[in-house]
């Protein structure tokens, strides 16, 4: 029996998800022994035309990481969807928009200005900006279109499964690959990680006081962090209550609060609003001015509560 064909692709991402695949270390040999990798731009020399030449549905599964920001990413993703039996949105950016999704709080114009004009290392006295089409001597030079917002994978194509995390942890990747190979798949659309809140699996939860009362909101770089107490008890924003479990509490064990990279549980659509709801209610004052003072200490609530998930929130982007 021929080995099932597998593809990896990346869109708007940092490369960390590719790193996570390499982090499989010796386990990658089991994966490679069981499958035939037919496309993986970061590691193998296959080209777009190689994928174009494959029959529809001939790839067993494509793991696609990164969010969608460019028309080229949309085209590649749509093509891989046609060629694949299953598509897995791999990592926070494909799943939720991820860190690139924070750009939804600004505009395309401002991003271009910053990148091509204002950044201190840029000299651009003529104000040259990238354009989609440039014609010279009868030749057309084209660049992909830069969309006005960052999109998660499932706004562009039908997604079968989601592997959460920034990046997804090795054990979840191996479990997902094995489940696919054995055909032991959960219902379509499932996020391949336990459907419960991170706090439920967090070691610091047991000693957490029954009623949390936040008198002061602190920031990690200005605080001596206790290595055992719940972060919320210390007045540190920790997205554990609004985040899906399954990462093995990676940040918590490094004495850092959760930033929410696994996204919400199945019951919640809007992770940031949910977190805001629980966090604000913990503020230990009923006085309007005091409440305002505490709120003022959170410099960037949208970026903090939606660090990974703005593009899948109800509002998706700013105006």
């Amino acid at each position: 029996m021929p080995k099932p064909k597998v593809a990896f692709y990346w869109n708007a991402s940092c490369g960390g998800c590719e790193e996570a695949v390499v982090d499989l270390n010796e386990k990658i040999l089991d994966v490679v022994a069981a499958v035939d990798i037919v496309f993986w731009p970061v590691a193998l020399d296959f080209k777009r035309k190689d994928v174009e030449a494959m029959p529809d549905g001939s790839i067993a599964v494509s793991f696609i990481n990164g969010a969608i920001r460019l028309s080229e990413q949309q085209e590649m993703t749509e093509m891989l969807r046609r060629k694949s039996g299953l598509v897995v949105a791999f990592g926070s950016c494909a799943h939720l928009g991820g860190i690139p999704g924070l750009a939804n709080f600004t505009t395309k114009e401002k991003i271009f200005q910053r990148a091509y004009q204002l950044s201190p290392s840029t000299m651009n006295s003529e104000g040259t900006y990238p354009i989609e089409l440039y014609q010279s001597d009868g030749h057309d030079l084209t660049l992909p279109r830069f969309f006005d917002q960052v999109l998660p994978l499932d706004r562009i194509i039908d997604v079968d499964y989601y592997l959460p995390g920034c990046p997804p942890p090795v054990d979840l990747i191996v479990a997902a690959v094995m489940a696919i190979l054995k055909g032991e798949l959960p219902p379509k659309g499932a996020v391949l990680s336990p459907n419960k809140a991170l706090c439920e699996s967090c070691e610091r939860n047991a000693a957490k006081p029954e009623k949390l009362a936040i008198k002061e909101i602190k920031r990690v770089h200005q605080t001596e962090l206790d290595a055992e107490k719940c972060f919320l008890e210390q007045g540190i924003v920790c997205l554990g209550p609004a985040t899906r479990s399954g990462c093995g509490e990676r940040c918590i064990s490094a004495n850092m609060p959760c930033r929410g990279c696994f996204g919400p549980t199945d019951q919640v659509k809007d992770q940031g609003a949910k977190f805001l709801s629980s966090f604000a209610s913990l503020l230990d004052t009923n006085d309007e001015t005091e409440i305002q003072k505490l709120v003022d200490t959170i410099v960037d609530p949208a970026g903090t509560f939606y660090r990974f998930s703005a593009p899948v929130s109800y509002l998706r982007h700013s105006k």
Partner: protein
């Protein structure tokens, strides 16, 4: 471009113990106020999850109002204080989404304050009318296809 003919759609979450009765009183007293508010009855202002507010805006509301019992009067003791804390934080966050402050409001209205209810709804309607349509589903959606 202020269009005085624009009729804003406002979603109101009304606590059943106080503001909802206040709204009823405004009705039975035949007070006149603009019809732009769609009332949704909730058990307490503390029941209003910020995601209700986000969803209302996402689905086409030009404004959202939360109505609760006056401080100290909540039937569940703390509910309206929770509402106040969430409101203060959410208002700041909505600004980052580009949603103007005037579109999101919290008002205390007791069961006896039919007149106050009519007044705050009229004021909100006028201010939101001046801000113009929000039309969230049209924001940034035309640029990719």
């Amino acid at each position: 471009m202020f269009d005085k003919n624009f009729e804003p759609k406002i979603v109101g979450f009304l606590c059943r113990w106080c503001s909802y009765q206040g709204a009823d009183l405004a009705g039975t007293s035949r007070l006149e106020y603009p019809p732009n508010l769609t009332p949704i009855r909730v058990m307490c202002s503390g029941r209003v999850d910020p995601s209700f507010v986000m969803r209302a805006f996402a689905q086409g509301a030009d404004g959202v109002m939360i109505f609760g019992c006056h401080p100290g009067d909540c039937h569940y003791q703390e509910g309206n204080y929770k509402a106040l804390r969430r409101y203060t934080m959410l208002k700041k966050m909505l600004k980052q989404f580009g949603i103007e402050e005037g579109r999101f409001r919290l008002e205390w209205v007791s069961a006896a304050e039919g007149e106050r209810f009519a007044r705050v709804v009229a004021k909100a309607t006028e201010e939101i009318r001046e801000l113009g349509p929000l039309n969230w589903s049209k924001v940034r959606e035309a640029q990719y296809a």
